[in-house]
Amino acid sequence: MHELPITESILKIVLKHAEMNSVSRVMAIHLQIGKLSDLEDEWIQRYFDYLSKGTMAEGAKLKIERMPIMVQCNVCSTSYEAEAAKLGELICPSCGQKDGTLLSGREYYIKDMEVQ
């Protein structure tokens, strides 16, 4: 459900940068979104297609890069990737300890865009 306001924000930022750079058309937008987020890629694109009609960004493809959930071992400080559903059963690949701390996986970022 919250894809709509997030997509509105994406479009607003994209159009601002398009104007600043005298762009005639936005072809693609590169997003970085953490794997802890529940956003559905398909719905962001659908909302974007709807909201961007008649703007420079109409028809732009959203390229969504899912950023990994990174955990740091509480004992040896090794950082490693974890799956959201397995955060309760962590095992450090380096020392085997089961306790870790979340480092990242909540990103919501527009990296760059391909324009003409």
Binding site: A18, D38, L87, R106, I110, V115
Partner: protein, 224 residues
Amino acid sequence: MEDVRLIEVKEEIMADNVKVAAEVRERLRKTKTMLLNLMSSPGSGKTSLILQTVANLKDSLRLGVIEADIDSKVDAEKVAARGIPAIQLRTGGFCHLDATMVTQGIDALAVSDLDLVIIENVGNLVCPAEFDTGAHKNVMILSVPEGDDKPLKYPLMFSICDLLLINKIDYLSLSDFDMPALRKRVLVLNPRIVILEVSCKTGSGIEGWVNWLKREVEDFKGLK
């Protein structure tokens, strides 16, 4: 045909909401009004907890409540019946509150006369976790019948809260809820979170919650 070129954007998508949320926090810091955002699934006990909190604290703290529901005034009426100022925001289909909606709520309450405003967010473990409301503290409720696997399904919500209340502990004997497993799952996501076990129905554990809240408000107001 024009060449395709790459433009660096490097912007946070939620920057607008983050900015409004920071304004809300700063405005309430000046009036020394602590804002607490209460989140949970539907039916896990947000309104019951607020009513318990009002019963315990209305003589020592000046309280206000911002209720958010998709389309109903039921919760605000229950709170207002206890003599506490309550504003009902109808989110009109939206599944969460953002900082702009919260601004409307605090505009409508006379916040400069209040020590603590509690936001009862929309019942939902997904969307409210993504939007900073401008609250100084985030609290969530997980009730025993929902199960101990919720941190695995909704990790973001558990990762952003300062305190987790496990409500309906009077149901523990009837369920296979694994409290140690739950605690461990939550602490991985958020090692700083405080976890308290309560029952809004029997009143068990409510004293611990009320004491935590009093201490936080005192710290916020700089009394200690």
